[in-house]
Amino acid sequence: MRTVIDFRLPSLGADMDEGTLLSWLVKPGDSVKRGQVVAVVDTSKAAVDVEIWHDGVVSELRVEPGTKVPVGTLLATLLEPDEVGETKPAPAALAAPTVRPAVSPSARQRARELGVDPNAVHGTGVQGSVTRSDIEAAAQALPRATLDLATTHPSAPTAAGGRANAMRGAIAAAMSRSKREIPHYYLSDSIPMASALAWLQQRNQDLPVTRRILSAALLLKAVALALQRTPQLNGFFRDGAFHPSSNVHIGVAIALRGGGLVAPAIHAVETLSLAELMVALSDLVRRARAGSLRSSEMSDPSITVTNLGEQSAEAVFGIIYPPQVALVGFGSLAARPWVDQGELRAMPLITATLSADHRVSDGHQGALFLLELRDLLQQPQTLADTGARPSTQEEQEP
């Protein structure tokens, strides 16, 4: 008797309870590895590359592309890899996972309006990315009948604002739930950033533009390390109880051009060097905006960080994203009055805020977190050295 493994549509965040299967990247008989992207699912926020959670051989695909299904729906069945007997994995299964060319959100939207499969279009943009004009060219080439059929498909939102409205609705639903269920408390602290900025400037000075580190990466690292002292802020509140997370998976709030935001995770931030973290951050922002996020990034952040960036408001008091129990906000980094050893002077400051869940922690623990965060940011070199694996490759490269 063979063990059949069910592959169901995973939850891709608190604001998603259904998704439309856009395409399968595997077919029955294919061997799959845990973590491999096997399907693309459209949520109200973005097209997400859905990864499989178990090794196996695809037995049956149960949902047709174009179908909208609730979270938890059986998408496919797999067989255990060792129960396939003599079947050798096909060479194709050993090849690198299919890499989808990037499709800009505006191109993706246009593709939906015109009934074009953006993943089948030859991209002429940067690094082969598919642009809006590629989509329009592809639509021109489509036989008329196909086009009409596609544009009148009931599941295809026809209005240009459809995606934006759906995303706004999804954000509203998740945030309403958060405010209804989570007793939030809020703390705020001004953090001097002179040492951190001087250190970054020094570090970036001789580096080519491709290897420079942004202060955003330093802030994420500081949050990850500070959380190790206050585990009550890092984890999930499920079924009436708090479940701490062993790693710090930071959901990074990323504003999408044209409105809306997503907060996909960078995994185990406390184990990354600053250079690795910067690469991960840059990659995540790029993919979030191109609409190619992975399911694991959407489903498991253990805390969210929102960074307003330069030229913005001074502080942000965020709403916790369930089932997480805290959110850290950074306002704009700017020179402001500061008293240092009895002297008033101008100092680059950033306002760090904490929104946390009173069911799990209280203000005392929250304040300890902000104090630790402030201390870490005064010692940027230590911050850079702590936690990262003992690889000094980033220092050795020319």
Binding site: S129, R132, V209, E310
Partner: protein, 83 residues
């Protein structure tokens, strides 16, 4: 051969459009602060400079960021460093 200024401007706007696909060249005001006008955050800005660096093979030290305010500044900066 070194491209002339209008051609440089076209190429730089094209690089901006890879980051801000909704940007229309006609609406870009050459003298206004670029980051505000196109709504570029620090990551967008870095990616734009990486694009400029790769396209024109020039180095842009962090210390020079302050000179790069408007799209005209970027064109002048690149032009001065091309041979």
């Amino acid at each position: 051969m070194k491209p002339d200024q209008p051609e440089l401007l076209n190429q730089i706007v094209a690089l901006l459009q890879t980051i801000a696909p909704e940007l229309e060249a006609e609406t870009l005001s050459a003298g206004r602060p670029l980051r505000q006008q196109v709504d570029l955050d620090s990551m967008d800005w870095l990616n734009f400079l990486i694009g400029v660096h790769q396209r024109f093979k020039i180095d842009i030290p962090e210390a020079d960021y302050a000179q790069l305010i408007s799209v005209n500044d970027v064109v002048d900066y690149v032009s001065a460093r091309l041979t």
